[in-house]
Symmetry: C2
Subunit: 106 residues, 2 copies
C-alpha cells in the first residue's frame, strides 16, 4: 500500500470551500484503488485543510490524477490554494479501519 498526508492552506476565508472541492472528487476513487481519503480541518487554523490518503499502490494514486472527477476537483480547488506543506509519503502497515488492499472501502 501507499499513503500520503499533507496540509493545504486556502486563501484567507476559503478553508471550508477548499475542503468541499477536495471531498467532492473522492467518492469515485474507491473504484480506482483508493482505500482511504480523509479531508480534515482545524478549528485553530480555519484555512488549513489536511488530506490523508491510502492507495493500493503509488501507481493507482498516480493514475487517479488523470480521472475527470479528480481533474475537476483540482480545477475547482486550485484558485483557492495559497500553499501546500507538511507532505509525507509512507507505507501503511496495518491498523483499524484500513481495508485490506484488495477490498473496496465501505
Amino acid at each position: 500500500m501507499y499513503g500520503l498526508h499533507g496540509r493545504i492552506d486556502a486563501t484567507e476565508g476559503h478553508g471550508e470551500e477548499l475542503a468541499g472541492h477536495l471531498v467532492a472528487g473522492t467518492q469515485e476513487l474507491g473504484d480506482h484503488g483508493c482505500l482511504l481519503y480523509v479531508v480534515s480541518r482545524r478549528e485553530d487554523a480555519p484555512d488549513a485543510v489536511y488530506v490523508y490518503e491510502v492507495w493500493t499502490d503509488a501507481d493507482a494514486h498516480q493514475a487517479s490524477l488523470e480521472l475527470s472527477s479528480v481533474q475537476d476537483a483540482i480545477a475547482g480547488a486550485r484558485p483557492l490554494i495559497a500553499g501546500m506543506s507538511e507532505r509525507v509519503e509512507f507505507t501503511p502497515v496495518a491498523g483499524l479501519g484500513l481495508p485490506a488492499a484488495g477490498s473496496p472501502p465501505p
Copy 2:
C-alpha cells in the same frame, strides 16, 4: 470527529518492532469510539513510524488511554521510542473510507 497524526521515531533498528507494538493494541479500539487507526512506515526512514487516528470525539480518544490493551501497547513501545514529532490534531470532515461517526469500522 477528532483526529490526529504524528511521527514516532524508534531507537535505531527498532522501527518494525515499534510498529508491531502500536498495531497490537488497535483491534479493540473499534469498540471504544475509534474509527480509524493506521500505522505506517517509510522505506527512506526505517525507524520512523506514523500513526493516523480518527475518533468519534476527543473524549473517546482520551478515555482509550486507560484501556489495558492500550497501556500494554504503550508499555511495550515506550522503551523503543527515541522521539515524537510532526503531531497535528484536526477535525475530519468527510471522505472515502471514513466510517460515519456512529458506525464501527469494518
